[in-house]
Amino acid sequence: MTATSESVSISQTPGIAWRKQTRFALIGALSSAFVALAGMPVGLDRRSIVYPVLSMGYLSLLWIPFVLASLAGSETVLEGMTARTRGKKDLLAGGLVGFGSASGLALLMLLIQNFDLRDPLVNWSPQLLNLLAFNQPLAVGMFLWLAFGSALGLLGGAMHVLPKKIRSHIRNVVLTVLAVSVLETFLTDLLEGFGLEILTDYIYYKRGGLEIVGALLVAALALLVPLLVGTKLTDAKQKVVSLPADERRRVNLVLLAASAAALFVLPFFLGKITNELLANVGLFVLLALGLNIVVGLAGILDLGYVAFFAVGGYTTAVLTSPNSPGFSPELPWPVALIIVILLTGLVGLFIGAPVIRMRGDYLAIVTLGFGEIIRLLFLSDWLSGWFGGAQGITNIPGVNVGIATVKGTDPRSVFLLSVVLRASAVYVSWRLENSRLGRAWMAIREDEDVAEAMGVNTTNTKLMAFVVGAVLASFSGAIFSAKVGSIFPSSFLMLVSIIILVVVIVGGMGNITGVIVGALVLIGVLGGPKQPGLLQEFSQFKLLIYGALLVWMMLKRPEGLVPNVRRTRELHQEEFLQDAWLKGEIDTDDQEDPQ
């Protein structure tokens, strides 16, 4: 029997899954209509990305065909499978998804023209229609969208056809341009501080957004810089990794010291608003680091976390403010801080002890209940003799640290103080993680029963995590009180707990860097529960985005954006093991290694 010249592959490389594409097209149509009716195009139109070509409003619709087409075409290729060969059909598929998404918009436009559903749907307006139609007659507008949609969809599909290098270049350019545009306020502030306004004046348009020229410049830089510098960076990193251990440690320390110095010096180069923003982010980082210990390290979902923030804030207010009803010792802030720590520790023990042995979801609800009870108590008339009820406590003095007074009116010093406290939070998290206690937490998270059998007193250990998290939250509360100068119960809604949770999860549970990045990206750009971020226009939509983000992260990437290597392994264990097995890294040999 002669072997045939034609080889039949065992796994027939599959063609395009058209059903999947249609599904994505439908999702695209619905999402586009939803985004339009949610008010994003109109609300975000004010902010230009590239003036006058692209505004954030239009971007909020344009990303849909592109991203969905790209997702629809993506495939997870496990080791051992052959990837599908890409071709023209992928472009067609992408175009279809894009076309479908756009047709949702076109349909919506038609409906707005002919019906009036303004009663339930508040954004159903001629203004929306005009914006969607690019201020052209309806038919032209519809046509334009279908064209744009298909083109973007095509591009999205093309992302899978193009070689990897070009793909990453495109991604770099797009993200950099977006980032530079979004961070405009921050960058302008920063460069102004260094006296380099010329640069920012050049690339940015007077009333916001990049000039076309500026955008092109940034794009060019985004293309060239990695090409020139890229290899040098990887080389440098390689060199550092291959150094002997103590040399490496020294290098790390130098880097750490440099970034710390930079962080300290930074506020002096930034304007007031940015400092204020960074101070807010700082407070959130502190809160998030605390919750990170509770949720990320020990695996306890504490939904009432904001209560400890409140306890810290109110205790500081009562102890330091001359306006505190009832009891007004007017202690200096550092003394109050010590009392805050002790008191919160006690409250943490009081709340934690009964609940720590409950199963995970019950614990979440109970902590939520406690959080709400505490907030209601602070709000109540019954205790208003102590806490001021709905009127809160005002006239909280700033923090006197000897050299300077830190007050809300001087964001720089607030930022510095928060940096110091944040650094201590990071230090605390880091040290605890690599200690006997940290290992016990990890073991509990892995298999609580076995951890108990190995001698870990799970109750006390979990309680420890709970209390440490509580104390860190109260730190944040103490600063918050002093910074804002007054305290009201409305600052401590359950909403805050959820936002902190989103930050921790998006950043990466159990991962210090991740949490900081998460806070920067989310709170800094989109804004916190009551404070606007860099993109003020998003204030109405940020909560919606947070909710969607939380669901998305849980579904696709529960380990967060900056994942802890260990965590990623935990959450994708099957894939990790399969990969390792296929790559031969799994220990299969049983012989003793010849020494």
């Binding site: 339930p120 002890a353 609800i365 006390n460 849980m554 529960p558």
Partner: protein, 375 residues
Amino acid sequence: MATAHDAKPRSRVLWVDRFLTLIRIGFIFLISVGLLAFIAQQIDPQNPLARWLNPDATGLTAAQFKGLLVTGLAQGAMYGLIALGYSMVYGVLGFINFAHGEVFMVGAMSGMITSNKLADAGLWEDAFIPSLMFVVVTSILISTAVAVIMERIAYRPLRGAPRLIPLITSIGVSFFLQNVSVVLLGPGAKSYPSLPSWLSQKRSLIGFEIEGTKLVVLLTAAVSMAGLWFLVERTKTGKAMRAVAEDKEIASLMGINVNRTIVTTFAVGGAMAGVAGILWGILFRSVIHTTGFLPGIKAFSAAVVGGIGNLGGAMAGGLSLGAAEATAPLVLLEPLGVDGVSQLRDAVAFAVLILVLLVRPSGLFGERLSEEDRV
């Protein structure tokens, strides 16, 4: 290398246990004192015990008490309907669907939209009963759809995940749905059109003065419970639901389509929540995007009080919670000297939840959970 002989560890009763016992005693003490004070007050508002604890308390007349009780029961019936969804989903999938309260809110919102549209068309007044039927049916359909979509998109992919993950996801879904309502419909509170007077007037029934609307609420809840009981106990679908709640694996080995059963569970729970939404609209006539939050938590407490997984218990839990919430502030707290008690009504609800979970986490009527979910 034998281990060194450690100093003998003293046998320890964990201090946490001692602490818990203390708390339980504290709660019981508080409740008893409150009740005593209340009784003392009712007997004679001037007696020294009542005077000492709260000189401003006015006590309750029988009529006031009955009124409070009825209000409480009506609200409790709604909590019970919502609690059914929590209980069923927990029984089948083993996690708390945080977003269930929002399904209730969606039901209330859609009822608001449809009823207002009907009112604009004049049908709400002219043909009230058919309009109401229409509103109820659309509400049920929409809530069910939301619940089913929620399961499909957010929960099904996470079927095998460690338990915290679907819980966190459900928090995200809840948050998302609340804000969908805000961005699509606007942030303010919205009202239902007014009800015909023959419905809202008070009637006398077995010595209780009860408004027509509350009567409707109680009756609808009863009818829904009956329907649910029939479904769960007498139909094949119900049997499948019970089997899947007990042991998913074995149920699938017995030929039950587990996915479809889970979808049905979500759908039924969603429908109940939708009904509760309309009832809320009828009773309070106002709905806002946060309407689902508190009732959702209270309904979950009710589900736990009744024993999670236990449907009859969920309704019983709801009714008792509603009654407690309405009467406790004035019966327990005011005599103890707490003023402004109506504000603390919600705190009472939370306190009941915590108390139940501490003292008797398997609920008043016992849990009905599979072994794997119990851990």
